[in-house]
Assembly symmetry: C2
């Protein structure tokens, strides 16, 4: 049985999307059980009249919510009764719980996960690894995407090891093709950090390093994992998403500018719906915070029930494949090899 905690507040559509997402995940996965945290009355209101297997779903009351505009380090101290902090405390203290899923404040989550749940032995810093769809029909992970803005080569090697294992465990990608984000393909390109990292990556055991990647190739399908500092990783992810969304918006505006275009677009409606779905990051699950003692999945704030379900199933697959143990063992081997 995989046991996870779901923070039911903090998202744009909470608690409805969270609770309904939980029910969808439970229906699909017989050996999954969930603990839901948040205002119990409101959670029960969503559960009401629905078929609920109470042996696999429990509710823990937590009346507070941490907002996205609150200072993370302050909020996690001042709001122990928030849905997020209750979830964190549960996974921290209950050995039978494997991880947590939230769509709430990213900053509070990183602070709470690092300070309360703690890191896997040997892991220097937890790192985010969100996924994007590629034009070849697959996915690509970016690690780190914002948890660590000032990094060094050692951290980059850990991001590579953790990200590779994650893609193997949760998505069945064998020997993920790992690239270093850089501003040119050649080994000698980039800043001091990248120049120093390249030869280390070439000899790093446990990853399949394929060289530098220029950011224009992110969606090409040639790479499974892109390793970078959290600053440029964040720029990479957000500018890619931003450009795609702005383009779709522009297309829509232009279509509405002429009747002829509107007729044309009507014939292509199904295609445009599919493009929109393809671009919807919610379809691809959440961003995983790799390197914590328990599994941590952060879904998008605008997650609907399907997106919450995807995040839960992501955590389920990771636990099913023993990701945490595998990361611990890989980090230990890397430390051994360094000696």
């Amino acid at each position: 049985m995989v046991r996870l905690v779901l923070d039911c507040f903090g998202g744009d559509h909470s608690p409805e999307a969270n609770v309904n997402g939980a029910l969808l995940a439970l229906a699909e996965t017989p050996d999954l059980s969930l603990v839901l945290t948040g205002d119990a009355e409101r959670i029960e209101a969503v559960l009401k009249d629905k078929p609920v297997d109470r042996k696999r779903l429990t509710v823990v009351h937590a009346p507070d919510v941490i907002g996205c505009d609150e200072t993370p380090t302050v909020a996690i101290k001042q709001k122990p009764d928030s849905s997020l902090m209750k979830a964190v405390e549960l996974v921290r203290t209950d050995e039978t719980l494997h991880g947590l899923v939230t769509v709430g404040s990213t900053g509070a989550l990183v602070a709470a996960a690092t300070l309360r749940i703690g890191r896997i032995h040997g892991v220097k810093r937890p790192a985010f690894c969100p996924l994007l769809p590629t034009m070849a029909g697959g996915i690509v992970g970016v690690c780190d995407s914002g948890a660590n803005v000032d990094v060094n080569v050692k951290l980059l090697t850990q991001f590579a090891l953790m990200g590779s294992l994650y893609l193997e465990c949760a998505y069945g990608i064998e020997r993920p093709r790992v690239a270093l984000l850089n501003i040119g393909a050649e080994a000698e390109k980039g800043d001091e950090l990248r120049k120093e990292a390249y030869p280390v990556f070439e000899t790093l055991k446990g990853i399949h390093f394929v060289g530098n990647m220029e950011s224009r190739d992110l969606l090409s399908g040639k790479y499974d994992l892109v390793v970078c500092d959290g600053f440029s990783g964040n720029v990479l992810i957000k500018s890619t998403e931003g450009a795609c969304l702005e383009m779709l918006k522009k297309l829509k505006r232009d279509i509405y500018s002429r009747t002829l275009y509107k007729i044309g677009a009507l014939l292509m409606k199904r295609m445009f719906d599919e493009e929109k779905k393809f671009m919807d990051y919610r379809s691809y699950g959440g961003s995983v915070l790799l390197g914590c003692k328990k599994l941590v999945v952060k879904g998008h704030g605008s997650s609907n029930a399907d997106a919450v379900k995807a995040c839960i199933l992501q955590a389920y697959r990771m636990q099913d494949a023993n990701l945490t143990e595998k990361i611990q063992s890989a980090i230990a081997s890397a430390a051994e090899a360094e000696k």
Copy 2:
């Protein structure tokens, strides 16, 4: 009279695109004269049978070409007779020449411009400032986009000053809205560099600082100039371009997958043509290398004649507005204010 040198080789469509671009620019601008460098015979072959005002167009023979795959520092030494190095030597030694335009090797250009042409007094490092179209119908500049990967706050302030003056001089944008590229909107977000830079930007005279910009807002039209280190600037530009191009490619592929979509797309042909043109970076001129003693414009390697013309007219407008003198004066004032 504005006098510029045009390197006629090194691009995908050289020398035809370069030479024809020169003729287009001369036809539009009576007080412009151009010196064309490169294999004279091949240049003359393109000029043949065309109406050419030889008082405003001269050709200087330079048989060699520097390829994009050559090591810049080696190439600029070993190929003094290349079209690029001849152009650089001309602007360096001839006081009446105001700048140069090239679509050749970026690396060789940066090395040659820095080492041979030299920096404006007080400028620490030249920086690239390419432009992108915004969804609001305007443009946005990104400075630096790759010439300087390891930077400090001082360099960032110079990028801001030079970029602002450039947008004012070449595009008539009054008080350009300057943003710092960051991973969050708040002043305390980001890495050490950004945290240190924010308060300095707030009090920096000569720029209109509007705060941090997240990369997803690059095309929003809310900013005129985004200031960043060359590494993340490069990631920003290339992932935005890459995402837009990949999306257009995907749309095209999807359209061809069904007859109904093909019919719909036919009705929208003009719109799609306009989207393609909108996304074509060649329409927006080249990337300017700011901070050199002479004007330097780098067009895209795939430039056609119109794109080359756009680059020449960019340099023309900069000279017409005395950009170089204005940068020198702004940098001197900033140094004075620091004392």
